[in-house]
Amino acid sequence: MEIKSHLEELLSSGKFVVTAEIGPPRNADPEVIKKKAKILKGYVDAVNITDCQTAVVRVSSMASAVLVMSEGLEPVMQMTCRDRNRIGIQADLLGASALGIKNLLCLTGDHPKFGNHPQAKPVFDLDSIQLIKLVRGLKEGRFENGEEIKGRRPYFFIGAAENPFAEPFDFRPLRLAKKVKAGARFIQTQIIYNVEKFRKFMERCRELGLLDKVYILAGITPPKSLGMAKYMKYNVPGLEVPDEIIKRLEDAKDKKEEGIQIAVDIIQQVKEIPGVCGVHIMAIEWEEAVPEIVKRAGLYPREEAPSFMPPFVVEKVVEKVVEKPVEVIVEKIIEKPVEVIVEKVIEKEVPLEGEMAEEKIFTLIEILSDLKASLKSLKAGMESLEEGIARLEEEFLKKKEARPIRKEVIKRPEERPVERETFIEEKPKIEEKVEEVVVKPEAKEVKPEVKPEVKPEIKPEVKPEVKPEVKKEEAPEEIKPREEEKIEVKPVIEKPEAKEIVEEKTKVEVKPEVKLETKPEPEVKVEAIKIGGLKGIYRPLSERAKNLPQDLYMEKATGEIKEVVIGKGDRAIKVGGVSTLNFHFFEGEMKNGVKFAFEILDIKPEDWPESLSKYYRDVFHDPALWAKKCVEEYGAEAICLYLVGTDPNFLNLPPQHAKKVAEAVVKAVDVPIIVWGSGNAEKDVEVLREVADIVGERGAVIGPIVEANHRTLAAVAMGYNTPVIASSPIDVNLAKQLNILLENMGLPLDKILMDPSIGALGYGLEYTYSVMERIRLAALFAQDTKLQVPFICSIGREVWKTKEAGLPTDELMGKAESRGILMEALTGVTLALAGGDLLIMRHPKSIELCKELFRGLSMS
């Protein structure tokens, strides 16, 4: 008979178990999984491997399980019904068992709609309960169709999940009973924050007599941040996060520390509930937290697994490559699963003969693509390097004679390696220093083979215990055995060949490059902003129309536009709240008037005409100073930070850049902030998610949300409780549709500002006007509640990019500056008349002009 899994052994002997979870990476890098396994080893009894969680493509659960086993940790393979029919499922289960996987968690799986391939055909040939039953059948020797399994049967310790908090609540224990009946032996529950509700659930399970039949492991997740907790509260169906947890995080100085403590507290509580046989800690993308939680919860040390033996021994070959021009050191670890059933053979030589005769070009391609592959797995901060490599690749492959490639392994003084240098007379001069770290007889055997044609893919035999190159600038003495890959960049600006790449890199870091240029700034005389008032004497309508019966000209609205609060505290502003067409004061109220926001950019503007630039040039280099100037000098009541630099079609700056800028702006000013992404639906999700973390607590507006990204961004907005900009392309129905979608997501209408996508004077202003007017009429007079939302109009951006705003002063076109100001002011006034509630503009004078006019219009 089969040997039980370690997990099953522990549970059946009554031990309190700890399991955790690993989410495999979205690339083919085995090291990510192994690294996570290493973190968890010794702290958990088994580790779940998700099966493309949230329907996002990742390394398969089975492959990851094998990798985890190679680290000496017992896996719990997860299997969903989303991607395979009963044929695929059974095939994979036979395979998993053959590979030595013994724990299996059977799930229905997240719907593809939530993942990164929403177009995929969802399979769901079986559901989780049918899957459990199928696995039990396999164990008992028959396939799903009833056919007998001849030969070795697979063996699995079968698990299932249950959500104690999902509705219908009283059906959940019954459904759990079904799973037990189908063959589930252990249950891992959904994340528990509401311990009381879970207690009730367990009580009901006890009544149903389930506790004797199944081991229940309570699901625990440390909230990594306040945002995450809120996200779970509002966006994850069937996950209850009590306000008390949110409060604890809000009050905590160190959110992470508090998150860990919350997890520990919940473990202590659920441990006492009868029937809870263990905990399942899901530290999502935060595996490092698990050891700490386990220790603090008094669950450390774990029982030693009886000499765990995977069916595979993974052989490691470490290769180090240094690409001179980029100054990148890449250490790759190549692994070959070898069918070795002998003892723990880790050291085995790699045969090199077969790889000798290929052409150089392929070796080049291989190096470069290897490099690229390794690079991809690194964190976002290294993104710019990728481009550098790509460029190199192109360079080399096009005219490889042009530049010599130098490949070397940097040696460390601690070791006394056998050093060899091989020079080759061929055109692409490859100079290679291969360093043998461990002197072994094999090294000698390798030597002659290297000579004929130095092939970069020759893997210099290095033992796994090799200590890779240490970051020189940081801590030359720090030498630790490390197996993860590492990329290092040295800012070697003097070297001409590195310059190209370095330049690209500096582009990403915005601030330094700008500073130099701004110093010798020409003295521009900025004229006073104040504008004289309106001439003439105001006569109220009641007087002018005194001879007409009121009902001839009056038509009161039946609806009202919602009020949206932007910002927090004293400086918060309200927009909307109108109960009439704008400025029809004889018919209704405009509680909050028309508001203005000054627009600033995250980078130095390139195409702003002089007539506009001269007001801000001194602060172009620093968005924080810029914002400050708008507030202090020009009296801005709100700031709109337009993150144009993050646009993938422009500078494509990373989300971290946006975060940095937002952080500085938030610190510099206390007025409400609007953060406007690049408008690229995909990128905005990444960017705004980061930025919301900074501006969220300031009640800042984030956007634009479009239909393509409304799901994720609405969730972000709800998590941080911020208002949003709902952006649709000049159309009544599309605007309404987006509002409905957002509302369906759970975002209330009083958190939405509509951006109808406006056109500037001469560039579609009339069209914008008529669409906005129609929306407003529907909202006020036709009870169209989904349109009773204030308008936000991004005017400055549209006006100042027009040709006319940028043309110099000449006889035909008149003065450049007044032309631009008037264009912006006219666009602003027109759209305010159409219903605009919040106008984002650039020129201090045009804003002043609009304000003056609105003051005049407000007299009645």
């Binding site: 997240d110 040939d125 049918q130 219908p168 019954l174 069937g238 369906n744």
Partner: protein, 230 residues
């Protein structure tokens, strides 16, 4: 009934780009009732095509007609009169009609004017919702008349998944979780135990997994029928 949706005019135009004379052919069956391909829609589509082609400077002659049904060879008989008179037919019937025309009149170039969507009910003016998926093996006797194959995003057969919240489906938040309703109804009827037994995996062959689906009623067939079917 079968619910269909008119295809975007540019797509229809692309198909008939090279023709000067076409027929827009409607159907008074399901597509007329769901306002996708009846008389009214025929005249709208025909007019749209004329307008668009006039604008393109390539005027086109568009004939209009609507048959009682397009899913019966008899009702398609009058199509013979158009043979040779028009270069192509844009059928606003469901996919069945288009296929049958293609089967019976191989020389006629027929193009779909609608996308055939689902089997649904007309809830209110202008709203149609899917109720059946035609899986060929009806199970709604066990689920209080509510179909989890058509109405559950995951086709579950053993109760609601963990995403059911507040009676809503997590995949379509504007839609009810059909399993929640099934549970509630059976509970009210005191028949909840129906859901406690494990529902076996579904046989998908009647749903089309076994190739083309054919139904025969021997007693009605004339002269041994028309095999093989095409």
């Amino acid at each position: 009934m079968i619910i269909a949706e008119r295809r975007p005019i540019p797509e229809i135009l692309r198909n008939i780009e090279n023709y000067q004379k076409i027929l827009v052919l409607g159907c008074r069956g399901c597509v007329a009732i769901c306002s996708a391909g009846g008389d009214r829609e025929v005249s709208i589509v025909a007019e749209a095509i004329r307008l668009a082609r006039t604008l393109q400077g390539k005027p086109i002659e568009v004939l209009e007609d609507t048959f009682i049904r397009q899913c019966d060879p008899e009702y398609l008989e009058p199509l013979k009169d158009y043979q040779g008179k028009v270069e192509a037919v844009v059928s606003l019937a469901c996919g069945v009609g288009v296929n049958l025309i293609a089967d019976l009149y191989p020389e006629i170039r027929v193009y779909p004017g609608v996308d055939t969507s689902f089997y649904g009910a007309n809830l209110s003016l202008g709203e149609w919702v899917e109720k059946c998926r035609g899986c060929g093996d009806c199970i709604i006797d066990r689920t209080a008349g509510l179909c989890p194959i058509a109405r559950c995003a995951k086709n579950l057969l053993n109760g609601p998944c963990g995403g059911s919240q507040g009676g809503r489906c997590e995949v379509r938040k504007d839609m009810p979780c059909i399993w929640h309703e099934i549970v509630e109804r059976l509970k009210a009827r005191g028949e909840l135990e129906k859901l406690l037994e494990i529902w076996e995996p579904k046989d998908w062959r009647p749903a089309g997994g076994d190739g083309l689906r054919v139904r025969v009623r021997e007693d009605l067939r004339l002269n041994g029928g028309k095999k093989p079917w095409r």
